[in-house]
Symmetry: C2
Subunit: 150 residues, 2 copies
Amino acid sequence: MKDYEYYMNKALSCAIKGYQNNEVPVGAVMVYQGKIIASAYNQKDSMNNVLKHAELICIEKASKKLKNWRLNGCTLFVTLEPCPMCASALQQARVDKVVYGTPSTNNKNHYLVDKIFSEVDINQSISYVGGILQEKCGNLLSDFFEKKRL
Amino acid sequence: MKDYEYYMNKALSCAIKGYQNNEVPVGAVMVYQGKIIASAYNQKDSMNNVLKHAELICIEKASKKLKNWRLNGCTLFVTLEPCPMCASALQQARVDKVVYGTPSTNNKNHYLVDKIFSEVDINQSISYVGGILQEKCGNLLSDFFEKKRL
């Protein structure tokens, strides 16, 4: 398997597409057996739907690809630490691992996501790693909020 | 607005359809200005997608109907207490109120959902009421697990 930065750069490319489409720039890729089987950027505003976070679009695409809602063996790379909705979805989809770029600046979000990943009830554990290309992922977001939303 | 039991009975009718389709029987309806604008039952297995919980399908349908991801003014009635994924989605969609039938039997689920609803960061509060037609909603689930999954 290629290293974390390789896949995070792919997620970052997705986030940049989001930026160009005036969406909060978060990108994600789902990796299975070393291959990217799904990629997406956040499309909440253009799709008018809170469910269109990059992570959930990746879950949907990956489930279609594998013809299974169980995504055992998959790793999700995402440029921003997930929200509780996405974290819980990833846990229920049984992904093996979640790797994120920049941490959430929201303490409650971080606390909840940590609880969701660390105390799972079903027979499963999720690895959870952050800080991969953190500066690049974070700068894209702060640049977006400075330039596009002011 | 009609009373809680009226709408919960509608959600229960959806759950029964789920039962008939061999899905874990959870049903939901989204109500706006007294009118049901979306209804759904859990379709996780038939759609092969963890995102197809009744609540999320209702959010998607209601957003389409109102042409807005913001569901202010809406109340979601669901036969089973939501999971963290659905609770966080409902919070992000800014629904006013969530009314559920039977409580989750999973303590961690209950704790997380309570945290998600009670300590929201955006300028919003969500009413959260449970125990409406609890016995009917719960019996449908226990009957399903006894008869269909053994």
